[in-house]
Subunit: 137 residues, 2 copies
DNA sequence: ATAAAGTCTATAAAAATGATAGGCTTTATA
DNA sequence: TATAAAGCCTATCATTTTTATAGACTTTAT
């Protein structure tokens, strides 16, 4: 399951996507619309900004806006950013690799092999679904 | 990522699958082989038993054994049992459904729609990969 | 100058996960 | 039939992760 962080991020991105005609959108408005903590959302939007997905304007009249096309924001990117690895095991993670303690030899481990396949197929799904898909339904 | 519970379960199932010629296998031996806590493993194997995946024999000379064919033990079953939902959001879970608080209307929610698709495609993967796939590599 | 809005860091609270403990029941066998 | 081996069951504790809050700081329009 996705963490609330990621879920909130998706709601925020959706909201921003629906308000692309406006220059900027207030954190406050997004938080209110979905009944979530504004302070918590602040951190999330900041991360999205640092990842190059959002832009922002400080000061009075400021706010956030999408900096990328919705079609260029795949679920995989959002999930990795806020939740971490998409792979089911650290030993098959492309971006967050770590060996598994209980596995004596990765090379001969059947679990490892199968999980690599699962990872690749899962990735195909999450890279192909984008914010655009969410917006157009 | 999978919890350690699920990871350990997969290792235990693999071990049991590799020792199908023996009548029973000791929890102790599985725990030792992978360097994991025996007591923790006990609980996990019990769950697998209650789910009809493993059988056991009590008392001296007892132990655990596979009660199903490896090809009939899909990853989806093991994951659901020990980790819970496969869906990324509660509002699209087949087995653990719950509405999402921050979503005003599920019917018009684009996130919901996309996540249903992700769930279905993910499920296809996890239902098709079985213990047999792990054993045969 | 002031108020509005994002930025940043730290900390606290809550929940989930991982691990341990100990007694109970069952069963083979000496 | 006593004993030791092995799984069964429940409770509790410890750790880690997640979620949420707080408050001071910076930037900017008016």
């Amino acid at each position: 399951m996705l963490s609330k962080k990621t879920k909130y991020a998706l709601h925020a991105l959706t909201y921003l996507g629906k308000h692309r005609d406006e220059k900027t959108v207030l954190i406050h408005d997004i938080a209110e619309e979905h009944g979530i903590s504004q302070k918590f959302l602040e951190n999330i939007l900041l991360e999205l900004k640092k990842a190059g997905i959002l832009g922002s304007k400080k000061g009075k009249g400021g706010g956030y806006y999408l900096i990328k096309e919705p079609k260029d924001i795949p679920l995989s990117k959002v999930i990795r950013l806020l939740d971490g690895p998409i792979a089911l095991l650290p030993c098959v993670s492309l971006n967050y690799y770590e060996p598994c303690a209980e596995c004596k030899d990765e090379v001969t481990c059947g679990i490892n092999k199968v999980m690599i396949q699962v990872r690749d197929e899962t990735l195909k799904i999450l890279e192909n679904k984008t914010l655009e898909d969410i917006l157009k339904t």
